[in-house]
């Protein structure tokens, strides 16, 4: 009997398991019609304890495109939580109805806690506060794989809010597993990469700067991020830092022709709209890859296969 597998953090999958998911995603992209009914009769519970239109749509679109159906909520005040129900009880009840659940919650560690009460229903972490957001990492990896054909031998510039950006922390950890990947962390002093992330990296594999223009010519991948208002206690501090970096066509002049520009979206001001027309900008395609990789993930966790 297969043990139920959950996705709580990126390292729940080995590099080989990730490759398997990416190969499946490639096949879905190439021949989506083959997968129209693979989840027929299956139900995905979409449990969103905080708003996230993008991630929720991506998961729900993924399940619907696989022929499955979706139940859930995106406002906890409309669920039993508002009556004081514990997370454990919610999960045990939902697992009576659904085959797989996606969970987004503002508190850190929630998805792991949920997985302990779900022996038969796979749980996918769709973000737990500032902690983990593994499907964004899968999205980012699939995007890199698609445009660069490999995970090794890249110089990756990571720019913006490196302190609170959980997608960035996960991506850096995931990419550090591959050979000859070098990071350039670009941020204002106040939003530098936390020491505990740096401690996990080989010190020769990264450099830090606050100047994007100085390093942009070295990059194969530029990962931009939003300064997240919701993580700041002081509005004043947020306003001071939010426009620290704005990527525009002038700055991009020095960048390599085959560099790709990524962003987990939503964007605020950190990438000027004029950049959207640049062929190196792949952030909207990135969102599409997010749906495809979630389709592959749902299939993998439900142990469903289609002859490829």
């Amino acid at each position: 009997m297969n043990k139920t597998k959950h996705l709580i953090e990126p390292k729940d999958f080995t590099v080989e398991e990730l490759d398997d998911i990416f190969r499946l995603a490639d096949d879905i992209i190439a021949a989506p019609m083959k997968y129209l009914e693979v989840c027929k009769g299956r139900l995905l519970a979409s449990l969103f304890y905080e708003p996230s239109t993008r991630t929720r749509f991506s998961f729900e679109a993924a399940m619907l495109r696989l022929g499955g159906q979706v139940i859930g909520f995106d406002d906890p005040s409309a669920s039993s939580t508002s009556k004081g129900e514990s997370l454990a009880d919610t999960i045990m009840t939902v697992s009576c109805y659904a085959d797989i659940a996606v969970l987004r919650h503002p508190r850190e560690g929630t998805a792991k806690l949920a997985s302990k009460f779900s022996p038969d229903m796979p749980i996918i972490n769709a973000g737990d506060g500032g902690h983990q957001h593994p499907t964004q990492t899968l999205t980012d990896l699939l995007t890199i794989r698609h445009y660069k054909n490999k995970f090794t031998d890249h110089v990756i510039g990571v720019c913006g809010d490196l302190k609170f950006g959980r997608t960035i922390h996960s991506l850096v950890k995931a990419m550090s597993r591959y050979k000859n990947v070098r990071f350039i962390f670009i941020s204002p002093e106040e939003l530098k990469m936390p020491q505990y992330i740096l401690d996990e990296l080989d010190s020769a594999s990264y450099t830090q700067t606050n100047n994007l223009e100085m390093v942009i010519d070295q990059l194969d991948i530029l990962y931009m991020s939003r300064v997240q208002r919701e993580r700041f206690v002081s509005e004043e501090e947020y306003l001071r830092l939010k426009d620290y970096y704005v990527l525009d066509n002038t700055k991009l002049q020095k960048a390599k022709n085959d560099m790709i520009i990524m962003h987990p979206l939503p964007r605020v001001n950190e990438i000027s709209v004029e950049v959207d027309d640049d062929p190196r900008a792949v952030y909207f395609q990135q969102a599409k890859f997010g749906m495809f990789v979630r389709m592959a993930l749902i299939m993998k966790l439900l142990n469903l296969e289609v002859e490829r």
Partner: protein
């Protein structure tokens, strides 16, 4: 100098850092036991300058995991028939449950009733542990 007589059977916690004795007394919940307990503070020590010491006249054993977590440098002497029969070397435990609480205010364990949260040693020098749920560093 105050003299405290030898105990017949029990535990002597020696070489407690100056000022830490009362904290240890509270963390071990020694105020809740009915055995004879003596807390001595600010004892002159050649090695430490000043030290604290706790004597407990008891048949029971303490939870040495808690003790190791609080201060692995404390000396634990087991006393039987008025003589020291065993010294226990404390260690920082690799994993700890039911003793610590996650200090991350955003951690789910501070909002839901979560039993047996496990903390894993991450930095022995700082005596820092990581919460199994949110990965945040926490110390006692």
């Amino acid at each position: 100098m105050i003299n405290v007589s030898k105990i017949k059977k029990g535990i002597v916690l020696d070489h407690i850092n100056e000022g830490q004795g009362y904290k240890l007394f509270s963390q071990l919940k020694l105020d809740e036991i009915e055995d004879v307990v003596v807390l001595l503070r600010n004892i002159p020590s050649r090695k430490m300058g000043k030290k604290d010491l706790i004597k407990i006249e008891t048949d029971l054993l303490l939870d040495f995991t808690v003790l190791g977590l609080i201060d692995p440098d404390i000396t634990v002497n087991i006393i039987e028939n008025g003589e020291m029969v065993r010294k226990i070397k404390l260690q920082l435990p690799e994993k700890v449950t039911d003793i610590m609480k996650c200090k991350n205010p955003r951690c789910i364990t501070n909002y839901e009733k979560v039993r047996h949260v496990e903390f894993t040693l991450s930095d022995p020098q700082k005596r820092e542990y990581r919460c199994e749920y949110c990965d945040s560093p926490t110390s006692l």
